[in-house]
Symmetry: C2
Subunit: 430 residues, 2 copies
């Protein structure tokens, strides 16, 4: 205080200048300025502001349920039973759902999903995850001690924190292939692994789309399996963290924030630090852990829920395969848009040709040209996409990322609106 007892005039303690400089560097395109503007526009629409459209279509992020996809019945039944165990006496629930719920509850403190779990995640869930990975990878062993349950795959950020600098290069490598939605061939994964060895990198594999493979002749290869098939000189050395989650594939359960990470060849001292680091957040959400368990331990032939489960899963995946094809077909009818086959995941990543004048106008505004394009698209049509510049595309090329998740009829409308916009935009800036 000053001598007369009044408080000294002062500015903020915490400002962008005094805050942690690393925070300023963080940039996340999928929820960047376009999405912030989309949220604003939604508010304006609610308040009655007139726009040339009636709703915002968020095709920026793989959010299946928001686009009308129905949850898998079995998963939600087990989750309801875990949440409100009085329902275990209800004969409306199938026995296999009840068994799964009982097993999960038995491994929770006080048999409640409201107890903290261990920081690395519920024991029986980590065992189930390890068994799933081992089955998936044709018997290559997986150790529950190497499994960390996470708060969705975006939790990979925890590993990045531990990892300081080395990872960023790998991430670029990934992001250059991920939004393209082409299924990585075995050969391509081998090349990435060899590159990691050469450049001394710690590999992080985002494998959340492991069930989303649509194109014929393509199949999912896990980095771990390829690594082990390259022989012990690779499999005993290369450090790898791979991620899966409940948010994508046929389940699309994003809100639960469930996921796992498997670490391979991690230095034991680093692993101890990682374990300490995750303990600061106490534990991942127990409902997300339970849901992850169901994904890796789904209904088996002979169990009462098996038929329904398979039908629901197949329906979701074939609808996605159809929409992948539809998207490619419609977009390729537009001069100036070129779309590769959507082989997997849930996005298209078409390349767009932009008129010189649009590029210059964007640059004059300090915007990436495809950001300029996507922002205009949002304002005129309500369609929210992510500009390719958010993913590290090749210099001088322009793209956008769009999910294929809207229901078929809506997807068609959206693609045709996009077509119309692109033609108008091209005309306007030619």
């Amino acid at each position: 205080m000053s001598e007369n007892g009044a408080l000294p005039l002062r500015g903020k303690v915490l400002t962008v200048d005094t805050m942690n400089a690393n925070v300023k560097k963080v940039d996340y395109a999928v929820r960047g300025p376009i999405v912030q503007r989309a949220v604003q526009i939604e508010k304006e629409l609610k308040e009655g502001v007139k726009k040339p459209f009636e709703e915002v279509i968020k095709a920026n992020i793989g959010d299946a349920h928001a686009m009308g996809q129905r949850p898998i019945t079995f998963f939600r039944q087990v989750m309801a039973l875990c949440t409100y165990p009085q329902l275990l006496d209800d004969n409306k629930f199938p026995e296999d759902a009840k068994n799964r719920a009982r097993r999960i509850l038995q491994s929770c403190g006080g048999n409640s999903i409201g107890a903290y779990t261990t920081s690395q995640g519920i024991d029986c869930v980590r065992h189930d995850v390890a068994n799933y990975i081992q089955r998936r990878d044709g018997g290559i062993p997986s150790d529950p001690d190497n499994i960390y349950l996470t708060t969705g795959a975006s939790d990979g950020i925890v590993v990045r924190q531990a990892n300081a600098n080395t990872v960023l290069c790998t991430l670029d490598l990934y992001t250059q292939s991920q939004p393209v939605c082409q299924v990585q061939s075995r050969q391509c994964i081998e090349d990435v692994i060899r590159f990691a060895v050469k450049e001394n990198l710690f590999l992080m594999a985002d494998e959340v789309y492991q069930d989303n493979v649509y194109a014929e002749g393509c199949e999912f290869h896990s980095f771990k399996k390829v690594l082990f098939e390259m022989g012990p000189e690779y499999s005993s050395k290369v450090e790898l963290a791979s991620f899966h989650s409940t948010s994508k594939c046929y389940m699309g359960e994003c809100g639960f924030r469930g996921g796992y990470m498997e670490v391979i060849n991690m230095d034991p001292e680093v692993k101890a630090q990682l374990t300490k680091l995750v303990s600061v957040r106490l534990c991942p959400p127990a409902p997300g852990q339970a849901l992850m368990d169901l994904v890796v331990n789904s209904p088996q032939p002979g169990e009462p829920s098996y038929q329904t489960f398979i039908k629901e899963r197949t329906d979701v995946l074939s609808a996605l395969a159809e929409k992948a094809k539809l998207t490619e077909e419609i977009l390729n009818t537009v001069p100036g848009i070129s779309c590769n086959p959507v082989q997997g995941a849930m996005y298209s990543f078409p390349r767009i040709t932009l008129p010189e004048r649009a590029i210059n106008e964007a640059k004059a505004k300090g915007q990436a040209p495809d950001m300029f394009y996507c922002m205009k698209l949002l304002e005129e049509t309500g369609i929210c996409l992510v500009p390719g510049s958010g993913f590290g595309q090749r210099e001088g090329t322009y793209h956008f990322r769009m999910t294929i998740l809207p229901p078929t009829d809506k997807l068609k409308i959206m693609l045709n609106k996009l077509k119309e916009f692109h033609q108008k935009f091209t005309q306007q800036y030619s």
Copy 2:
């Protein structure tokens, strides 16, 4: 690769030397070495290793359900309805529970709790939180735009990340008062605020125990309320983030990882950075957000669930008040243990007198003397506590933190085991 095609011999890419140095500095007593050893001992017991006890009692952390506390029926009913909306047709669920579930689902994308929410949290939940705070603080306005829903209160770490250095000092201040479990008086809070002004600190208030006040004549004062009552020269300047969660109080729903943070007087640019930072993790778990909503929007007089809700809440809180008293009474019968009244929260923080020889032996082992004590206690009795040295106690004094959560009969047994151990320990090292 070397010239003959073999891989070069190499060490790990990621080691404690190459990793982010800040990670190594993180230290979290509540889940530190004692707890790691406790988990190990549990494993050994399961494998049949003989010990002088049959189970580990985890009195290190406020994990109510793990200690047998029952969840609040209304909360779990609404959560089950949100999870499996088919139950909305079930006449076993009360109408007020159904109404809450419908309202939450209506503000979720695609009416599913499986959709991502906005990064700051579901709109209607943030509004309910703001209304709750405003009611709680006697009408001092709260703006939903200043509310961030979180993944439990431990998410406060996100703010610390943004905040770099300035906060650590405040945290010390807090941790010195929090484990003591004395309810901070209005005067004490005023002093902290004045101190923050003088030292130019950003204040972080952990207010997760706001319903856990047992001692007569004590009441909960929020930092925000005190700040505003100190007049505009304080309330317009002091930067404050305060936290609440679903994990403590009468609900004890730790596993859901629900919580909120309210920021006051935050620099708008910093707020934009914070919003960006939370968006990297996409969104807090939707079930935790829904549960937080129920806590701030619990059954009201006249609603069908009101009576049961009030009874369940009262039962939990009066059991805790009783156990607080019991703990104080039993511990104070032990020579060398001195326990202040447990006025609030769910811990006791007794001071212990340790024989010189024990202190020397601990120091020779490079251990804090109360860590040495707690580790021995764990090995001999299975009781898992947190040494006071983890909380920043005054130099030369020794304490432990113990929850008062075990059921009364178990708590008595535990306290008597502790008494016996302390007497034996004192004798052994005298």
